[in-house]
């Protein structure tokens, strides 16, 4: 056996930086062998899943090897009675969902690009979907992880039981680490039974914070309260209810919203990212949703995301020059930070745009990076503070 490696071509570029080789490991041991070899030769590595978000984040300072995890696409263990699944990092979210649905279960994560995005990519970027309001994000559903460190060390933490407090939770640390600490090779998640029924209440209507809060706090227990505002003016609100008597509960929520149609189909924009040449993520206190929505609209962004969880994707409607975008982001960030929120630029073609804003624990983060990747070979420069 040997690790399959091919010469890279222009399509393999990571945000404009072409690697020299693409490695296609098929096992954790092969990932380890690749990283060890790279360590010996001081080659920089960028791990990749389905590539749906490879252009997010700053370009790597250097990139010799693209570690394509596509061959590690096995669902290793679905313990249905334990509501647990263990999968390799390269399994796509849709493939995982299909495997779990056979037994009437699901991983309650609904990240964008589910057809192509992988378990590893979803974890590394910590993308979340509408139902994060009820079920939490990837870090909340992840119960065990196997990672490969830049020197080739294979390490695991957590396990395959939901309740477990033995040792440090490396899964949390790697979730959202953008490939800068090592490679996520396998992940174990807690699952949920597929909902018996599902309804959306959808209304094209203006919203107030008060109504949004009453929706979120309703004892009919919606799984998500989402807003779509493509043009800064027209808003659509959609509320998802899952479980028994979903229809009746959705109808009850219509009383709160004062408007809307109850349907068995998600709105077509539900949980999607439609345009991500320039893409921002806004976080804000749920009670300040209307102000966040207005700020995004005035800055020229569409707004799609969770009112209840205080997290939305902002897409740029127009092509704007670098200076203008940088200034717009600065203004928007100042406005949301005054509300207690944050603005992160997930994707932009421009290097002159501050992607992260203030990061409160940056010195600690740098020390983590130095310990895990002293040679700065893992996705160098792709994360906060140039980590």
């Amino acid at each position: 056996m040997g690790v399959t490696v091919r010469q890279a071509d222009a399509d393999d570029a990571v945000n404009g930086v072409p690697p020299r080789w693409v490695a296609l490991p098929e096992t954790v041991e092969e990932v380890s062998a690749v990283l060890r070899t790279c360590a010996e030769r001081d080659l920089a590595v960028v791990p990749a899943g389905g590539g749906t978000k490879l252009h997010w984040g700053p370009p790597p300072e250097r990139c010799d090897v693209l570690l394509d995890m596509c061959c590690m696409n096995a669902v290793l263990e679905h313990a249905a009675g334990d509501l647990v699944v263990r999968a390799q990092a390269g399994v796509t979210m849709d493939a995982l969902a299909a495997a779990l649905a056979d037994k009437g279960q699901e991983l309650a994560l609904d990240p964008p690009f589910a057809e192509y995005t992988t378990v590893g990519g979803t974890l590394a970027t910590a993308t979340a979907g509408p139902r994060a309001f009820r079920y939490g994000t990837a870090r909340d559903l992840l119960i065990g992880i196997t990672v490969v460190l830049p020197d080739g060390t294979i390490a695991k933490s957590g396990g395959k039981v939901v309740k477990n407090v033995a040792g440090y939770d490396l899964g949390k640390l790697f979730t959202g680490s953008q490939g800068t600490l090592g490679v996520i090779a396998e992940a174990t998640f807690r699952l949920h039974p597929l909902a018996a029924d599902r309804r959306w209440l959808v209304a094209e209507t203006e919203v107030s914070d008060d109504v949004l809060l009453r929706l979120a706090a309703s004892q009919t227990e919606p799984s998500a309260v989402e807003i779509d505002c493509p043009d800064g003016k027209n808003t659509t609100v959609a509320v998802l209810v899952e479980g028994s008597a979903a229809e009746a509960r959705a109808v009850a929520l219509r009383e709160v919203l004062g408007d809307g149609t109850v349907t068995a189909e998600a709105p077509e924009w539900w949980g999607l990212i439609l345009r991500d040449e320039v893409l921002l993520e806004a976080r804000f206190p749920p009670a300040r949703t209307v102000e966040a929505l207005a700020a995004a609209g005035e800055a020229g962004f569409s707004f799609r995301g969770s009112a209840a969880a205080g997290r939305a994707y902002l897409e740029s409607r127009d092509d704007v020059p670098e200076d203008e975008l940088a200034a717009t982001v600065t203004r928007l960030r100042a406005r949301l930070e005054a509300l207690g929120g944050r603005v992160t630029v997930l994707a932009t073609p421009y290097e002159g745009v501050d992607r992260w804003g203030q990061v409160s624990a940056l010195p600690l983060m740098r020390r983590i990076k130095e310990r895990f990747d002293p040679g700065r070979r893992m996705s160098p420069g792709r994360f906060v503070g140039g980590i």
Partner: protein, 478 residues
């Protein structure tokens, strides 16, 4: 120690530094009383800034420090150091902010778990993680141990309900870790790190909306096997109850002796199932549950809050209650995958018979978290040792079945030696990278969690040489 004490006295009010040997003894152990050590000095800071100053002094003197909340931990996580400073957060018990619109509360670490719920209950909210000691345990301790409780199966653990923490890092910096910030999830790594990565001085927790309906059911089975089958069937039916708790005959006997809980007579096992959520959802699940539990010889449904409390009374008092039927006991805290429960319970029974040591089983059946109470008479020579053997063998069983050596009590000093059973040297070395990033000098609660602390100067991991694949030329593609 004297110059250290003098330095601490210059930072804190006089009555916040304790050196009197008698008073120091008060702090010699936490809830796990068979590990004891008298702290060198105890401080009771009032503010985060004071905690930071104390930690900086410890750094100046190179002495270890240990944080302690209410001291209810069951793994010796707050066991003091004789050569160090014990930082007690009991004066820091203010609820700083309650923001129901954003479903959060900001509290100091000494606030008790239940106090948070009590502050918002009238307005229809509560704080979900509920360790059995919730009346007294502090939220800071909960954060350190990532404490759970009966409702974790459905609602998750402390880490899922903490939005931000202000911490004092092991070198004395005051830093905020916030889920909302970009960057590494240091908050996720910090929660459950058992005081080895610093001390939480301000905690933002998420509040949950009280459910529309709650139904609590007690099902009595003739045997523990039948009870176990019912648990599997409940999960198999797609029901995620708020709690599923099980007690065996011996645990019931103890609870009966202690609090007269009046559980059905002659039960080999009782199951307590709590369903909550929207009314319609609870009704459907209750119908399914009744069918699944048709093999039970008695099914009680709580008609009101008082009856619910009566059902829970026996379960909540079980640990303390075994004192009525045994002079001494060890509370174990292992986890197995739920489907392994029947096999593991049978194996525990065999262990019990082999060693002549009674084991009472009380557990969170829904998530496979066992709390076997290993009973012995400490007056009987050798009994304590036999109980230790049984207790350790139960942990081995848990690891063999793919479970964990601790579900909620933590590793502390008590289980550090078991860590290598669950994790490889590489796994542990990798965790040490996190430790070294936060605490390069190893002063924050040393001796806990890890069996063999390595110096942070040593670089773990790079000790393998060339991989066989590369050596044999088979991986020579780069």
């Amino acid at each position: 120690m004297e110059t250290l004490t003098a330095a601490l006295r210059s930072l804190l009010p006089h009555d916040s530094v304790i050196t009197d040997p008698v008073r120091l003894r008060t702090y010699e152990c936490d809830g796990l009383t068979y590990h004891r050590a008298t702290p060198g000095v105890v401080v009771l800071p009032d503010t985060a800034e004071q905690v930071a100053r104390v930690v900086r002094v410890c750094n100046d003197f190179g002495v270890p420090f240990v944080a302690r909340g209410s001291g209810t931990g069951l793994s010796g996580g707050a066991l003091p150091r004789e050569d160090g400073v014990l930082i007690v957060t009991s004066k820091m018990r203010r609820i700083l902010e309650i923001d129901l619109d954003n479903r959060r509360a900001v509290v100091e670490p000494g606030v008790t778990n239940l106090a948070i719920t009590e502050a918002v209950r009238d307005r229809g909210y509560y704080y979900a993680p509920d360790p059995s000691s919730q009346q007294v345990c502090s939220i800071g301790g909960n954060v350190a141990e990532n404490s759970g409780g009966a409702h974790c199966l459905k609602y998750g653990f402390t880490v899922n309900h903490v939005e931000a923490c202000e911490i004092v890092t092991p070198n004395g910096d005051l830093v905020t870790l916030d889920r909302m910030d970009p960057g590494y999830d240091l908050l996720g790594a910090f929660v459950g790190s058992e005081g080895t990565l610093g001390i939480a001085t301000k905690i933002t927790v998420r509040l949950s909306r009280a459910p529309e309906a709650v139904t609590t059911v007690l099902a009595a089975f003739e045997s523990i096997e039948q009870g176990g089958q019912a648990v599997s069937a409940i999960i198999g039916a797609g029901i995620v109850p708020a709690a599923i708790e099980m007690m065996d005959a011996l645990a019931i006997e103890a609870a009966e002796a202690a609090v007269a809980c009046r559980y059905p007579e002659g039960a080999g096992a009782v199951l307590i199932v709590e369903l909550d959520g929207p009314q319609a959802e609870v009704e459907r699940q209750f119908t399914q549950l009744t069918e699944i539990c048709s093999g039970a010889f008695e099914l009680r449904v709580a008609a009101d809050a008082a009856e619910r409390a009566a059902i829970w009374k026996g379960r909540k008092s079980a640990f303390a209650a075994v004192g009525r039927i045994s002079p001494a006991y060890i509370v174990q805290d292992g986890v197995v995958p739920r489907t392994s429960l029947p096999g593991v319970l049978a194996a525990i029974d065999r262990l019990s018979q082999e060693h002549g040591i009674r084991v009472a089983n009380v557990f969170h059946a829904g998530d496979g978290n066992l709390h076997p109470l290993v009973l012995f008479d400490d007056a009987e020579p050798g009994a304590g040792e036999r109980a230790e053997v049984v207790s350790g063998a139960i942990l081995d069983l848990c690891v063999e079945h793919g479970g964990s050596i601790t579900g909620e009590h933590g590793v502390g000093v008590d289980k550090a030696r078991y860590m290598p059973k669950m994790f490889s040297a590489d796994d542990l070395d990798t965790m040490q990278l996190v430790r070294c990033a936060f605490d390069p000098r190893g002063l924050s609660n040393p001796g806990k969690v890890f069996p063999t602390p390595r110096l942070c100067g040593e670089v773990p991991g790079v000790r393998k040489g060339v991989h066989p694949l590369v050596e044999s030329g088979k991986a020579e593609q780069l």
